[in-house]
Amino acid sequence: MLEYAWLIPVFPFAAFILIALLPKRTLWWEDGAVYAIGGALGAMCLSFLVVWDVVMGDTLIDGSQRFEWLVVGDFSVTFGIWIDQLSAVMLVVVSVVGTLVVFYSGGYMHGEGETRRRYYAEIMLFISVMYGLVIADNYLLMFIFWELVGLCSYLLIGFWYERPSAASAAKRAFIVTRVGDIMFMAGIIILFKYVGSLDFADLFSGAGVAAVPSDMMILATALIFGGAIGKSAQFPLHEWLPDAMEGPTTVSALIHAATMVKAGVYLTARSYPLLVQAPESLLFVAAIGGITALVAATAALAQNDIKRVLAYSTISQLGYMTLGLGAGGYLVIHADSAAGYSAATFHLMNHAFFKALLFLCAGSVIHAVGTNDMRQMGGLGKVMKITSLTMLIGSLAIAGMPPLSGFWSKDEVLAAVWHAGEFDPAFMMLWVMGIATAFLTAFYMFRMWFMTFAGEPRSDYHAHESPRIMTVPLMILAGLAVVSGFALFIGDGFKAFMEGSIDGLLAGAGHESVFDVAVEIFTDPLTYLTLALAIVGIVLAWRMYYVPGFDRSVFAKGFNGKLQRALENRWYISKFYDDFAIKVVYAASLVADAFDRHVIDGIVNGFAYLGGNMGQVLRRLQNGNVQRYTGLIVVGICLLLILVLYVLPWGGW
């Protein structure tokens, strides 16, 4: 099946074309949802077949499935597919979440009228290019898809473009991720300069890695990770993601929780063969991840918008994955272990399921109540049983309660960071940040859950449970949030599976058995420490937001209220950007503008003026008079004769 993997993006792309071009009356149900479901299902079935092959031990990483687009002399641009265990994990995530979100949209977007056509077309385009990104076999192709998912993200954040806040959030997301994109591009240009190819097969080979000097490797990998900082909303470029919540909630679930924001993590994991050559970059990756996890988790504490809580939580969890990848690199170098690498990808998969679940639950709540503000909710648990229950499962999963998926993967990530501390003490500090984040996560998630579902209604609303087409995807995702963690123990275990995609980097230490993995988890005191912290977090949230009569102002007054304000303003990072943008960048742009207007435009206008005028003069020659036409031919011949017979020989040609 692997050789047909290139067909996967074709299904949603065909759906995109059909929805965009078909006449209105042939769009049927929900303005094109049928085609969208068809495209998503087709791609999902094919993805599953491909993933099955990978699980059975087959991979396609030799570049044999390659389409040569442009070949001139030694220079070539080829497009091919690359399917290994890492791509398989992403394929599962994109196909499952993508399909469920499309189904869910059938209910969620019901009231949008004719704009649904645009919605479904854009969603299908997104799914198609996301698949493309996952199966690309070189950095150039990946970069093309990388930009395309960015474009789709921009379009969908700004789906309600009539709202100024949505339009500006879309712009912000696009511009901020652009910063990362430029770094990514710079990184791959450096690699191309030394290796002369951007194919993974060439770059990741021994010769390819050896061709890059070590200082340049540090620079290139750090720059490539810069792309991930933008796309995966890592500190300090993370502020676009909360704003991106202006889009429909389905978009937040699909693009800004489960798939596109994982592209950065995927890119980092994909570049492992390069990253392990540059331990400095790995430490940088881990540090960014740790800082992101903690900063975003604290910012989530004081948000009142349900989607913003989830957005910060997404950023924080993405930080976990990045931290795991950074630590995992050290484990690969020093301990020949894929523990960190597999933990991060494992968390990527689990997080995709439970975070998509949480977003879709939030969507269900918003659909019912008509507001994002949790202060206006409360008591919804009575009327929305399925939603409240599935959201509880999602919250428990992200808080790391056993036996839900979040417990296993978060524990694995933290264990890997702890283990990496043996080789560089910096990881000890990152580990502390990690467990602090675990505590905060449990707290803010349950703060959100209690504020939304428990207690009495705090505003006048008439909520009802969402239709079946929305609740069924919730139940499926809730089921996945429960069971996906057990992938750790299926067959040879998830870790052994992921080892397959970087086995070139490992000296070939034998696999741990599944049993050993389980024993390790349950005999490690750190597991219980993390778990205890998470339970404390939940209990604290219960005490503060469920039990009536608790005076929350005690916390608000701490540090003279400065802490509360700082949290509400998300550590003033956004404000810093605004101030920076207004003062410094604006001043710089005024100078650039003056230069552009007077110097560049002057030159361009000069040419345009010259061109326009010459066009006018030349046009006047063309007066429609046929005598003049033939006359000009004769003049032309005479001039040519003078040229070839006298001028050129005289000039020595």
Binding site: W69, G73, Q622, I633, L640, V644, L648
Partner: protein, 495 residues
């Protein structure tokens, strides 16, 4: 040698001519004139299928020529395919466009004859066959341009085309006679050695040969609409029925290039150093003038005409570079240009069938009125401007890079300036192509929906498919073109 033997290599032309003779008779039989279009399509598709079967599937071998006048090789095969495809596209569109006109039998017959002449040029190995081919195609297209003789613009176009065309034919014929005087032969492959021999044996022959070269340059330059022999083109393209404008721009011009390649890169390759600078200058002037004037046009057909002139300038690059890679690039661009330019003209024809004008203003709001026409037009124009992954990018890339490679090996170094000029011109051209796209999508005009006639839609779809296909299957296409260039004549590779 029986007569049948002698006729064998002319089989494609015979089939086309046979149908051309049949069509006026069928005009009396058919009540639904669309059947005439079907009857015209039959030989075109038939011959095209035969050539595809030969070129790509080795299903048969073309008869070796028993007369030293024509030769069917990959080079001629590729050109013939271009002419036939443009013919198919034009005939399909005409089924809607000339519906209700009188004398349709003659109209279709003339299209077939024009295509016949073009294929003859592509297969010619003799100066006289080239001349005969040019004339068959030329005279047919004079008549076609004036097909709507009651329309003033159409008659005016035909008259101008006829006068300037006659003048150019005379120049070509004069040039051929001068070549014969110097070399004593009209065979293209024998021309080079014979001229070299003449240079050493009698004095002044080099000047005569140069005069003949300039005259033949003017004669062919008229066909491809190179500056300063281009003046007729905008008037004729504007006045002629739109499908015929497409035929002229997409096929007739390509015939001129087939003739150019044959005469200059086979026959006159021995004197290349004498003419390469002149043609390089003409190339640069042609592309610049074409693009500059296109900017200020207000009529879409005139704009496309000037854009065709500019494209001729790009194609002329291949002559001074004169490597296999350059010829391959030119053939690639000839193919892509044939599809994207005929496609653009057919969109205009489709709008004409729906009684919308030819002013650029008339394109305002087309994106809402007819999403299909607007999208097709946008893709054709973007391809013409050379935006990847469309075909126009691919072929321009090969063509322009051939000048870069050629300047390194085999030289001379100044060839690189051809690439520089071409790239700058491409940037300039984007201005007027993008303007049409802006009109279609960003400006609002009439709200009334446009109904695209079925046959025209089919023609546009064919052109659209090829415009995307040739760009996406870049590598395979370059490969075919390189093989054709290799079969064409023995030139340095230049890659």
């Amino acid at each position: 040698m029986t007569v049948l033997n002698m006729l064998e290599p002319f089989m494609p032309q015979l089939i086309l001519v046979l149908f051309a003779l049949l069509l006026p008779a069928l005009d009396y039989l058919f009540k639904d004139k669309r059947l005439l279009a079907v009857a015209t399509l039959m030989p075109l598709v038939g011959v095209a299928v035969a050539i595809v079967a030969w070129m790509f599937f080795d299903a048969w071998t073309p008869p070796a020529s028993s007369v030293p006048l024509v030769e069917i090789d990959l080079f001629s095969g590729l050109f013939t395919l271009v002419f036939l495809s443009v013919g198919i596209i034009v005939v399909l569109t005409s089924a809607d466009f000339v519906r209700g006109d009188r004398n349709q039998g003659e109209y279709y017959a003339l299209i077939l004859l024009a295509v016949t002449g073009m294929t003859l040029v592509a297969e010619a190995t003799d100066l006289f066959v080239i001349f005969v081919g040019l004339e068959i195609a030329g005279i047919s297209s004079f008549a076609l341009s004036g097909f709507r003789k009651r329309e003033k613009r159409s008659s005016e176009a035909a008259t101008k085309y006829f006068i300037v065309g006659g003048f150019s034919s005379a120049l070509t014929l004069f040039a051929i006679s001068l070549f014969y005087g110097v070399a004593g032969t009209t065979s293209i492959s024998a021309l080079g050695p014979a001229i070299e021999g003449a240079f050493s044996s009698f004095e002044g022959s080099d000047s005569v040969a140069m005069l003949a070269t300039v005259l033949v340059l003017a004669g062919f330059g008229f066909k491809v609409a190179a500056v300063p022999f281009h003046m007729w083109a905008p008037d004729v393209y504007e006045g002629a029925p739109t499908p015929i404008s497409g035929l002229l721009a997409a096929a007739s011009k390509k015939m001129g290039f087939a003739a150019f390649f044959k005469v200059f890169l086979i026959g006159l390759v021995v004197t290349k150093t004498d003419w390469e600078v002149a043609i390089a200058l003409i190339a640069i002037i042609t592309m610049t003038v074409g693009n500059l004037i296109a900017v200020s046009q207000t009529n879409i057909k005139r704009m496309l005409a000037y854009s065709s002139i500019a494209q001729a300038g790009y194609l002329l690059i291949a002559l001074p570079v004169g490597t296999q890679y350059a010829v391959a690039g030119a053939m690639f661009h000839i193919m892509t240009h044939a599809f994207m330019k005929s496609g653009a003209f057919m969109v205009v024809a489709g709008m004409g069938s729906a009684a919308i004008g030819e002013k650029l203003e008339d394109f305002k709001g087309l994106g809402k009125r007819s999403p299909f026409l607007a999208l097709a037009m946008a893709l054709f124009l973007l391809s013409l401007a050379g935006i990847p992954p469309l075909a126009g990018f691919a072929s321009k890339f090969v063509l322009f890079s051939s000048a870069v490679y050629g300047s390194i090996d085999p030289g001379p170094g100044w060839l690189i300036w051809l690439a520089v000029a071409a790239v700058l011109n491409s940037a300039l051209s984007l201005y007027y192509y993008a303007r049409v796209i802006k009109y279609m999508y960003m400006d609002s005009g009439s709200e009334e929906k446009v109904k695209v006639p079925r046959w025209t839609m089919a023609a546009i779809l064919i052109a659209l498919f090829m415009t995307v296909f040739l760009g996406v299957f870049f590598d395979a296409t370059v490969d075919v073109c390189l093989r054709a260039a290799e079969a064409f004549t023995d030139l340095p590779l230049g890659l």
